[in-house]
Each structure stands twice: as structure tokens, then as C-alpha cells.
């Protein structure tokens, strides 16, 4: 079984925001991947961006650059 590690999880208000952010991250070579929103964070079934906690500041800046509003940004074992 995969070893769980601390991750930074970014959730979004809409699925299209999550997909747009994934596209922007890939285009700019940022690390991370799309995952289903972890159950610990939400009873919803949307998509989230998962990266390392050290990227928090960069992610906050990049979200503003992309004009995408995140719903939540949380660190958890994933």
C-alpha cells in the first residue's frame, strides 16, 4: 500500500476551475496532480489539486495570477 505523506490540497468551487488550474500548472511546469477531493475535506465529489506543502506560497500567488478562487487550502496526510 502506498505510504501516506503530508500534502497540500487545494479545493475549488467548480470542477472547471480545478481543470483550468491543472492546465495552468502543467503549462508552467509546476509539480502536483489532480485528485478527487479527499473525503476528510468535503462530502462533495469534486476535483482538487495535490502538491507538496512547501508549494503553499507559490500556489497562493499563482492562484491570484490565474484569477482562480480556491475554496480551501489544507495540509493533510494523503
Amino acid at each position: 500500500m502506498r505510504q501516506k505523506e503530508w500534502k497540500l490540497i487545494i479545493t475549488f468551487h467548480t470542477t472547471s476551475d480545478a481543470i483550468a488550474f491543472e492546465k495552468a500548472c502543467k503549462e508552467t511546469g509546476r509539480s502536483g496532480r489532480m485528485i478527487p477531493v479527499p473525503r476528510e475535506l468535503s462530502a462533495g465529489c469534486g476535483l482538487a489539486w495535490c502538491t507538496v506543502p512547501a508549494d503553499r506560497a507559490d500556489m497562493e500567488t499563482f492562484l491570484k495570477e490565474c484569477s482562480i478562487e480556491c475554496e480551501d487550502m489544507a495540509e493533510l496526510l494523503y
Binding site: 468551487h13 467548480t14 470542477t15 489532480m34 478527487p36 462530502a43 465529489c45 476535483l47
Partner: protein, 363 residues
């Protein structure tokens, strides 16, 4: 116990959902229809005289149970969130489309899986359309389709549908306001309180594990994530075992209960359902669960399903089950009539307009 901790617990939740379906099938629900969201909403709409199809009228406690079960578990686990404001009328239309597509095929995605588990090859044909529909929906998402975000609203808003369901249930037991079929699928049902308890448990488990038939395909396409598919796998395995054990497994296209072998309409019907479900953010089951946990947007989608069911039977859009010839009547090939065929095509055109209109492109 955390049902979403890993794939094993997700599979267990699927097994539990499958076990509930098996009990309901054993206790009297129609064959290969232990639990069907579209059929049961259609039956309930008929019981309330929104349509006059005499063989499909019965207030299904399972629907009431699913909504109220999701509501109760969400309140107990503090996950109840009253939200609204995400394109309600588009969701209403998507709900109607999901119902029209489902009744062309004769079943929602949940019943499609139950039919597959009983060996109904028509359901495997329909699965092709469903997966293609979900794939088309994900293309729309990638092009920027969005119904917009939902906002937190007054707590009371999310309680309206669960309360309405309780009132409906009480009235169905204590008055003669509603009608019940004397023959046909509507006359076949598990005892009321077993159906209600089954629905409550089904709704609560579905809320905890977030089971969604469109979501599982969407997650595989977008992220190669198989978590939600694990739940569907659990349901499928349990129902295969149940059907084999009870002699209901029949691997064929013909002789299947409440089904037809019009392949093109099975495919196109479920194509519309898969496409609409991705745009609406969940299959019919998921919409009921989301409505239960406080989403007024999903409650509106439920109303779309409800009105769509009435449309289907009032205007001849629903598919007809195939039937073998008898001494009194010739064989019936089944499937949707011309009205239903036109409606399914129109629904698919509308879905492309909703999903791919330039105004829906972000920026």
C-alpha cells in the same frame, strides 16, 4: 468506521449497498429493479397522478429513504450544508434529460449495473453509451463548462425536500390521496417499512462513500482514479451472487424483465444520461444524496427528474418493455416509440448546446 479510508472500505460500502439491493429484490421489488432511481421517481410521480400509466404508480419509500438517510447522516456528522445558486433552471433541464434518457433505456445507471449483474446483455450495450456520454461531458468540462459555484444559503432551504419527503410518506400511509398499481412493476414492491429502512441505509451509506455512477467513469477518464469504481464493483459482485443463487441470472438479450433490445436507443438513452450527469455534477442517485445533504441545486435537479418522468408517460416518450407473444397478443419488440426517439435526439442536441456553447467557455 470510515468507509472511504481506502479501496477495501470503499469496496465494503459497495457490498453493503449491494446487500441492501439484494434484500429489497428478495422482498418483492420488481426483477432486475431492486433499486432504480429513475423508475422509482417515475412510480412516485405516477402515484401522485402526475401521469396516468396505470402499471407504474406507487409511492416508493426507497426514494424518500435515500433523501432522508443522506439528510440524517449529514446532520449527525455535521456535513449538512445548505447551498444554492448554481444555475437552477439548467439543472432542472438536466434532470428532465436524465429521466428521458433513463426511461428510453428503462433504468438509471444504478439499474443498468443491476441489470448487468443479472446477465442482461442490453445493459452492457447501454454501458457503451453511458461511458461515451460521460466522456463527452468531460470534454465539455475541459473546455470550461461550468454551472457556476453554489453559495451557502439559509439552513432552512436544504431542509425543504427532506421534510416534503416525510410529509409524502406520512400521507401515503394515512390517506387515499395517492394511487397504487394493481398490476405491472408498480404493483411489485417490498413491504413499506423494509423499503423505507433500505432506502435510509442506502442513502446514508451513499452519502458517506460518495457513490456516483457518472463520477466513477469521470474520475477514471480525468485522473485514472478507480476509487468510485470500487464501490460499483462491490454492488455488482453482490448482485451477481444474489442472481445466481436465486436463479435470476440469465445471460441474454431477450427474455429480460422490463427491458428491450433496441440497441441504438439503449446506447443513445444512456449516452444522454451520462452526458447530463457529468454536466449536473452527478448521476440520479448522487443528486438525491446531494439534495439530502443540503444542496437546493440538486433538489431542483430532483424536481427535473420528477417532472421529466411525468412528461415521459404523458407524451409517450418512455421506452416499452419487450414481450414475447402470447395467445392473446403478438410479440412486442419494445423500445421507445417515435416520440421517445425524437425526444432522445433532442435531448442530446440540447446537451451539446448547454455543454459547448461559447458563453460557457471560461474567459
Amino acid at each position: 468506521m470510515n468507509l472511504t479510508a481506502n479501496k477495501k472500505t470503499l469496496a465494503l460500502s459497495g457490498v453493503l449497498l449491494g446487500a441492501i439491493a439484494a434484500v429489497l429484490a428478495y422482498m418483492g421489488n420488481p426483477k432486475n429493479m431492486a433499486m432504480c432511481i429513475a423508475c422509482f421517481i417515475r412510480d412516485t410521480a405516477g402515484a401522485m397522478k402526475l401521469h396516468q400509466a396505470a402499471v407504474v404508480q406507487y409511492v416508493r419509500p426507497e426514494i424518500i429513504g435515500i433523501i432522508c438517510g443522506a439528510f440524517l447522516i449529514a446532520v449527525v456528522t455535521k456535513e449538512y450544508r445548505s447551498t444554492a445558486g448554481s444555475s437552477p433552471m439548467v439543472r432542472f433541464v438536466l434532470g428532465m434529460i436524465m429521466m428521458i434518457g433513463s426511461l428510453a433505456f428503462l433504468g438509471c445507471p444504478l439499474r443498468m449495473v443491476l441489470r448487468m449483474a443479472a446477465g442482461d446483455l442490453n445493459a452492457y450495450v447501454a454501458l457503451i453509451g453511458f461511458v461515451a456520454g460521460v466522456f463527452t461531458g468531460t470534454l465539455a468540462l475541459k473546455r470550461g463548462f461550468s454551472l457556476g459555484r453554489a453559495y451557502t444559503v439559509d439552513k432552512a432551504s436544504g431542509t425543504i425536500l427532506p421534510i416534503a419527503m416525510v410529509v409524502l410518506f406520512v400521507l401515503s400511509l394515512t390517506t387515499t390521496l395517492f394511487v397504487s398499481s394493481e398490476k405491472g412493476p408498480g404493483s411489485m414492491h417490498a413491504p413499506v417499512f423494509i423499503a423505507l429502512i433500505g432506502g435510509l441505509l442506502f442513502g446514508a451509506i451513499a452519502q458517506k462513500c460518495r457513490s456516483c455512477f457518472a463520477g466513477c467513469v469521470r474520475d477514471i477518464i480525468l485522473m485514472k482514479n478507480f476509487d468510485l469504481l470500487t464501490i460499483v464493483g462491490g454492488i455488482f459482485v453482490v448482485m451477481v451472487i444474489y442472481n445466481i443463487a436465486t436463479g435470476n441470472f440469465n445471460l441474454s438479450f431477450t427474455g429480460q424483465p422490463v427491458a428491450h433490445a433496441q440497441h441504438i436507443w439503449n446506447i443513445l438513452g444512456m449516452y444522454a444520461v451520462g452526458f447530463a450527469a457529468v454536466l449536473a455534477g452527478g448521476c440520479p442517485l448522487r443528486q438525491l444524496v446531494l439534495a439530502g445533504q443540503g444542496s437546493s441545486d440538486s433538489a431542483v435537479t430532483f424536481l427535473g427528474l420528477f417532472v421529466g418522468a411525468a412528461f415521459c408517460h404523458n407524451f409517450g416518450l418512455a421506452g416499452v418493455a419487450a414481450a414475447a407473444a402470447t395467445a392473446d397478443a403478438p410479440a412486442v419488440a419494445g423500445g421507445p416509440g417515435i416520440n421517445g426517439q425524437v425526444a432522445v435526439i433532442a435531448c442530446i442536441v440540447i446537451l451539446f448546446i448547454i455543454g459547448f456553447m461559447p458563453k460557457n467557455k471560461k474567459n
